[in-house]
C-alpha cells in the first residue's frame, strides 16, 4: 500500500491469532469468564485491523491522483470508442460506394451504347426542365 502501513493491522491480526492459545488453555481449565474476555479482545483486535486496512484502501481509492487517473482513462476510452465508431462508419461507406460502383458497372454492361446515351440524354433533359 502506498500510504499504508500494513504492519500495524498485520501485527494486530497476528496478536489476535496468538491469543487463541490462551483462550484454549482458559477453556481447558474451566475459566470460562476469562476465556470470554479474551475472545472479546481477540474479536476487537481483528475488527480494528480490518477497519484500519479498509479505511486506508478507501482513502487510497479516493485520493486525487487516483480520481485524476480514472478521468484520464475514461477520456481516452471515450476518444478511442469514438474513433473506432468513425473508422467503422468510414469502412461501411467505402463498402457502400463500391457496391454502388459495382451496380453502375452492372447496368452499364447490360445496356447497349445507344440505350445508355438515351438515358443520359433523358437525365440531361430532366435537369434542364428542373432548372427552368
Amino acid at each position: 500500500m502506498t500510504n499504508g502501513n500494513t504492519d500495524l493491522p498485520s501485527g494486530l491480526i497476528s496478536f489476535a491469532d496468538q491469543l487463541q492459545d490462551l483462550i484454549d488453555e482458559l477453556l481447558t481449565n474451566g475459566q470460562d469468564q476469562r476465556a470470554i474476555q479474551c475472545s472479546q479482545a481477540q474479536s476487537t483486535l481483528r475488527t480494528a485491523a480490518g477497519v484500519i486496512l479498509a479505511v486506508d484502501l478507501l482513502q487510497e481509492f479516493q485520493r486525487q491522483n487516483a480520481l485524476d487517473a480514472i478521468n484520464t482513462l475514461r477520456t481516452a476510452t471515450t476518444t478511442l470508442n469514438a474513433n473506432a465508431g468513425r473508422i467503422a462508419r468510414e469502412q461501411r461507406n467505402v463498402s457502400a460506394a463500391i457496391g454502388i460502383a459495382a451496380g453502375a458497372a452492372e447496368v452499364a454492361g447490360a445496356l447497349t451504347p445507344f440505350q445508355l446515351s438515351s438515358i443520359v440524354q433523358g437525365l440531361v433533359d430532366i435537369r434542364g426542365v428542373a432548372a427552368q
Binding site: L27, S39, Q42, L57, F61, Q62, L73, A84, I87, I98
Partner: protein, 323 residues
C-alpha cells in the same frame, strides 16, 4: 497489365504516405490483448466483491464464537426475541378482528450475516475497486475496438474488378485481393494512428490504476488472513468446549475445519493471480507505448502472445476460485 501497374503504383504510394506517420502499433497484438482482458472481467468483479464478503464472513464466524462461548446458552439455540406488537384499538363499528401482526422471524443464519462496519467501510471499498477494474477493462476494450476485428474487411471490390474487360479470372481475383488489401491497409493506418494518439497519454493513468489494483489485492489478502484466523478460532474454541464436555472431535470435524481454511487459501491464491495479471497488463501496455514512440511495427504481437500465455492461466485460476 498496364492497369495493374497503375493500381500498384497508386497503392504503393498511399501505403508509403500512410506509413510515414507514427505507425508503430501492431493491431493484431492490441486485438489479442483486448480480447484476453475482456475475458477476465467477471473474475475481477468476483474478486472485488469478495472484499465485502470477507468482512461479512469474518463477522459471521466471530458471532458464532461469541454464541458458542455464551454462558447462558451452552450451545443451545439462542432465545428468540419477539418484537412487541402494536395492535390498533378495535373499531367499534367492525366485528372483524384486526389483522395479526407477525414479527419477522430472525433465523440464526440471518443474525450471523453482516455488520454495520462491513456496510459502512468495506462496501464502499468494493464499489471503488470495481469502478477501477471497470475503467481499466473499458480502456483496454476500447483499444481493441479501434484495432478492429480479427479478419480483414471484404469491401466487395470483386464485384467491380469482375466488370473490367480484358482480365482473366485469375488476374481479376489477384487485382481484387490486392485492392482489398490496400483498402484494409488504409483503414489499419487510421486505426494505428488513433491508438498512437490516445495510448501514450493514457499510460501514466493506467499505471496509477494498476498500482491501486495491486494495493487493493494485497490489502484483501490481509483481510483473508483475518477471516482465516477467525475460522481457526471458531473451530479451536468449539473443540475445546467439546472435549471438556467429553465429546471428542471427529475426523469429519477436522476435515470440515481444513476445508474451510482451504477455501480461504484458494481465494488468497486468486488474489495473487489477479496481481500477476494486472501487472502483466501494465507491462504490456508500456511495451505498446515504447513501440509507438520508437516506431517499431512488429514487437507487440510477440509480446502479447507471451502476455496471453502468462495471463490466461491466472484468469482461469481466478475463475475457479469463485466458481
Amino acid at each position: 497489365m498496364s492497369i495493374m501497374r497503375v493500381y500498384g503504383c497508386a497503392a504503393l504510394a498511399s501505403i508509403l504516405l500512410l506509413t510515414a506517420c507514427k505507425q508503430g502499433v501492431d493491431l493484431a497484438g492490441v486485438r489479442t490483448l483486448a480480447a484476453t482482458v475482456k475475458d477476465a472481467e467477471p473474475s475481477y468483479t468476483a474478486l472485488a466483491d469478495d472484499y465485502y464478503a470477507t468482512c461479512q464472513q469474518s463477522e459471521g464466524w466471530q458471532k458464532l464464537i461469541t454464541f458458542s462461548l455464551s454462558p447462558s446458552s451452552k450451545n443451545a439455540a439462542p432465545p428468540m426475541k419477539i418484537a412487541p406488537v402494536d395492535r390498533p384499538p378495535p373499531s367499534k363499528n367492525s366485528f372483524a378482528s384486526p389483522p395479526a401482526v407477525v414479527a419477522p422471524e430472525k433465523t440464526l443464519d440471518a443474525s450471523l450475516k453482516g455488520s454495520s462496519v462491513c456496510d459502512s467501510v468495506f462496501k464502499p471499498v468494493t464499489e471503488d475497486w470495481n469502478r477501477v477494474n471497470g475503467v481499466v477493462i473499458g480502456y483496454i476494450a476500447a483499444l481493441g475496438a479501434v484495432a478492429g476485428g480479427q479478419r480483414a474487411t471484404d469491401f466487395g471490390l470483386g464485384n467491380v474488378t469482375s466488370k473490367i474487360q480484358g482480365l482473366t479470372s485469375a488476374q481479376g481475383s489477384a487485382l481484387n485481393e490486392f485492392l482489398n488489401a490496400v483498402a484494409n491497409e488504409v483503414f489499419n493506418a487510421k486505426r494505428r494512428s488513433a491508438i498512437s494518439q490516445s495510448a501514450p497519454g493514457a499510460d501514466a493513468a493506467l499505471q496509477t490504476l494498476v498500482k491501486l489494483q495491486v494495493d487493493a489485492a494485497n490489502n484483501y489478502k490481509i483481510q483473508l488472513l483475518k477471516e482465516r484466523g477467525t475460522i481457526d478460532s471458531f473451530y479451536r474454541t468449539s473443540f475445546s468446549l467439546a472435549r471438556r464436555a467429553g465429546r471428542p472431535q471427529t475426523l469429519a470435524d477436522e476435515v470440515q475445519w481444513q476445508s474451510k481454511l482451504d477455501e480461504v487459501d484458494k481465494r488468497s491464491a486468486a488474489a495473487d493471480a489477479y496481481v500477476a495479471s494486472v501487472r502483466a497488463l501494465a507491462t504490456h501496455h508500456r511495451s505498446l507505448i515504447d513501440d509507438i514512440e520508437n516506431d517499431r511495427f512488429d514487437q507487440v504481437y510477440a509480446i502479447s502472445v507471451d502476455f496471453v500465455t502468462e495471463f490466461k492461466p491466472k484468469v482461469l485460476a481466478l475463475s475457479k476460485a469463485f466458481s
